[in-house]
């Protein structure tokens, strides 16, 4: 019953999306007040129905309804409840349903609250949102119905992929999806403004919270995903340049560029067509990411759907949306009037550099990610990994940080470097001193060395905009910017330190043996069997101590899940402020010794602290912006009321 209800709600939501699109197109073509008034309610009801469908699927999973095929394929009774529920989106159909639900809820939200943009642009935006949503509804209903029944019901479920049975599954996919889908709203705004040719600062101010919100979620989603991969895979790496990781990085790069250009548009009415273009590109990258990850064209734990029909469907949607948006852009971009001008040395100029370099980085990641697919069409199999991505992207990323340090100090419109001479000299001095300090005290590679020097410079430079200003009266958005930029410095330092100073040790040890790794001493005490709710494991107990401090126990495991039958190795980590000790238990050798792999990773955690700071900065900016908008709205209401009473 619940499954049928969910399916019915999904069909209804799809029908309403179609209606919303048709009405929207009619209103945009010929104004019709009656039709125009139904579009916002349509979007709201459509959102509610999609949420109902998703709720129904959640309930099927929570109640462990084995007559629903998706539940039977992806769940099992001995799993902890949190994984039962998170299993809803730990599979292809459920994750697509979550995508479309978040998307239609976002549409409902803009329909409810957004009143700043001209109504005609708003209707074009909602029609675009319905157009994009419709494709995904069709994809769900035609090619991947999540509510399919099994008759007779299964006796037992197959279970969730053990690699996904982790708390990470509960937050990583929803976070990333909020980001992807937030970009769909930016896309709809961009297309709506193109249709009505009203690319104004008011439009930018309406779009900005969505871009910011999406960007915060993407930032946190990527940070969480990186940490999850780091401790789950047991390889000690935090970024593998895996296509699925790149699939989330590319929308982030585009969203970062968009975030900065939309600020220029909102504050200075410049970069109009460029912002529209980035709005289209950012969501296109979300779609490319979804295509790469979900089509089965790449193999990984993320690729649930190894089904050519589905891959072709997503590729079709991608071509349809990106293609039509680009055609519209080509037709309309010339008719959007040019915005305000600015000098090369100005805040706008620095932000243009930031935008162009972010786009170059995007191109580099995109080319490297797609290259293996292209060569494979010609029968040559290659893989592209860190040896390509790391140096080539650093070539653009590191110089961009210099602009990042200087840009926020520049004034809008026109400025001169002489005016900010003193901070510039200070930044340069910090970078040189840091470079020399690291150089003399250790022998590390070129990239980590430059990374550390720039991180030190940026840590100071990120707070330079506050210099000489009253900290209490500094707008929240400026605090947000400074904290986000500081987060980049922190993350960069973590990356450089991890690649420069990591110590790795691989040994075969018998019980009682002690291993020295960097400043740590680790003693293998015992290896014993333990049992969990749906697994058994061999668990090693390691007594570890840091430079003679009191010891602590670490317990890495080799887990064997019985449904599906699969082994995973669970690393055990010990976190200090200055790094992490990472331990993995391997196999037993013939002579009874146990393989142990240990890493001492100085400052590695700073990478994720940096990511969190970047997200926090975004959050502060969002609160500041939305607060200002609300104040402005109140003021306008008050003025209008005063006018009315005066009349």
């Amino acid at each position: 019953m619940i499954a049928e209800l969910g399916l019915a709600a999904l069909w209804l939501a799809a029908a309403l999306a179609l209606l919303q699109l048709v009405c929207g197109v009619m209103v945009v073509r010929r104004d019709d007040a009656a039709l125009a008034s139904v579009i916002r309610p349509l979007a709201v009801v459509q959102g509610a129905l999609a949420a109902l469908a998703f709720g129904a699927l959640l309930l099927c999973f929570a109640r462990f309804d084995l007559s629903v095929k998706l539940v039977a394929m992806n769940s099992r009774d001995a799993q902890p409840l949190i994984f039962q529920i998170a299993g809803t989106w730990g599979n292809h159909e459920g994750s697509m349903l979550m995508w479309v639900t978040i998307m239609s809820l976002a549409g409902a939200l803009i329909a409810l609250i957004e009143r700043r943009v001209p109504e005609r642009t708003m209707i074009a935006t909602l029609a675009t949102q319905a157009f994009v949503g419709l494709g995904f509804y069709a994809f769900l209903l035609i090619a991947s119905n999540p509510f399919e029944r099994l008759d007779p019901p299964a006796q037992q479920g197959l279970g969730l992929n053990p690699a996904l049975q982790d708390i990470g599954l509960a937050y990583h996919p929803p976070t990333l999806y909020f980001g992807y889908v937030g970009l769909s709203v930016a896309f709809s705004f961009a297309v709506g403004a193109l249709i009505t040719r009203q690319v104004t600062p008011a439009f930018a101010r309406a779009m900005r919270p969505w871009v910011l919100g999406a960007w915060i979620f993407l930032t946190l989603g990527i940070t969480a995903g990186s940490y999850w991969a780091y401790y789950e895979l047991g390889w000690g790496g935090w970024w593998f340049w895996d296509p699925t990781e790149n699939a989330s990085l590319m929308p982030w790069l585009a969203a970062t560029a968009l975030l900065h250009s939309v600020s220029v548009l909102a504050a200075r009415d410049a970069l109009r067509t460029w912002t529209i273009m980035l709005g289209v590109v950012a969501f296109s990258m979300s779609m490319v990411g979804t295509f790469l990850v979900r089509s089965g064209i790449l193999t990984s734990v993320h690729a649930f759907a190894i089904d050519p029909e589905r891959g072709a469907f997503i590729l079709g949607l991608l071509a349809l949306y990106v293609g039509s948006a680009l055609v519209l852009f080509a037709l309309r971009a010339g008719t959007v009037a040019e915005g305000e001008r600015f000098a090369v040395t100005s805040r706008e100029g620095a932000l243009v550099v930031n935008n162009v370099v972010l786009c170059a980085l995007l191109a580099i990641v995109l080319v490297g990610t797609l290259y293996p697919l292209v060569t494979e069409a010609y029968g040559v199999r290659v893989s592209v990994g860190p040896p390509y991505f790391t140096p080539v992207s650093a070539l653009f990323f590191l110089p961009m940080l210099v602009v990042l340090a200087v840009g926020p100090l520049l004034r809008w419109r026109r400025d001169s470097l002489e005016r900010i001479q003193r901070p510039l000299v200070l930044f340069f001095a910090i970078a040189v001193i840091a470079l020399a300090g690291v150089w003399f005290n250790s022998s590390i590679g070129f990239l980590p060395l430059v990374g550390m020097a720039l991180a030190a410079m940026l840590a100071v430079a990120s707070f330079a905009p506050a210099q000489g200003r009253n900290l209490r009266r500094l707008p929240l958005a400026v605090w947000g910017m400074m904290i986000a930029h500081f987060g980049i410095a922190v993350a960069l330092f973590g990356m450089a330190a991890d690649s420069a100073f990591t110590v790795e040790k691989l040994v075969a040890a018998k019980e009682g043996d002690t291993v020295e790794i960097g400043p740590w001493l680790a003693t293998l005490k015992t290896v014993e069997p333990v049992a969990g709710p749906n697994w058994t494991a061999l668990e090693a107990t390691l007594a570890v101590s840091y430079e003679g401090e009191p010891g602590k126990a670490l317990r890495p495991q080799q887990r064997s899940f019985w449904a599906p039958a699969q082994k995973t190795s669970e690393s055990a980590l010990l976190t200090r402020w200055n790094g992490q000790l990472y331990t993995v238990l391997g196999d037993q050798a013939e002579d009874g010794r146990w393989q142990l792999r240990l890493w001492w990773k100085p400052f590695v955690t700073w990478i994720w602290y940096g990511g969190i700071l970047i997200g926090l900065g975004g959050l502060l900016a969002l609160i500041g912006r939305v607060g200002n908008d609300l104040k402005r709205r109140h003021a306008q209401v008050r003025i209008a009321r005063r006018k009315r009473t005066a009349e």
């Binding site: 170059a360 490297g368 393989q595």
Partner: protein, 153 residues
């Protein structure tokens, strides 16, 4: 430094700058890919056309039965990877993937050492029914059987 761009052409100038940087990025990417992409080999290719020593490549095939040996240190293993036509000795130090066994498929990432031994930095094995390294997935059943027969002779 504070010269204004010619007012009429600012848009064009910005466009030109963006294009130049993007083209530069594409060229650098192309150069990076030519030198840094790691190619996939099967043992018979590796023997017929060996890559330059030190070049990062991936080697895929079946782990031959009876070839797996562990060194005295307990963590370095040696085995033969075959594709039914030829075989290559491989050495690896580390914890092997969970489904790595004799007679099953493997993709080794690493480089060819001067002596003809392939030194692997990383091994990818079939993870579970749904997650197979791409190169292994493409190996047809017939090829797999041929490889297994070869290795069990």
């Amino acid at each position: 430094m504070s010269t204004r761009l010619a007012p009429k052409h600012q848009r064009l100038v910005l466009l030109a700058i963006a294009l130049v940087v993007l083209i530069a990025a594409a060229l650098i990417a192309a150069w990076g890919l030519r030198s840094q992409a790691s190619y996939f080999y099967v043992p018979s290719d590796l023997i017929a056309k060996p890559p330059a020593p030190g070049q990062a490549i991936r080697l895929g095939g079946m782990v031959q039965k009876g070839s797996l040996k562990t060194d005295a240190d307990g963590v370095t293993i040696h085995f033969m990877v075959g594709d039914g036509k030829a075989h290559v000795p491989v050495s690896y130090s580390g914890i092997v993937p969970d489904l790595f066994t004799e007679g099953s498929g493997v993709v080794a990432e690493g480089r060819l050492a001067p002596g003809g031994t392939f030194v692997a930095d990383n091994l990818l094995a079939k993870h579970d029914e749904n997650y197979v390294p791409r190169e292994l997935k493409d190996m047809t059943e017939a090829q797999k059987q041929a490889a297994v027969q070869e290795t069990t002779k």
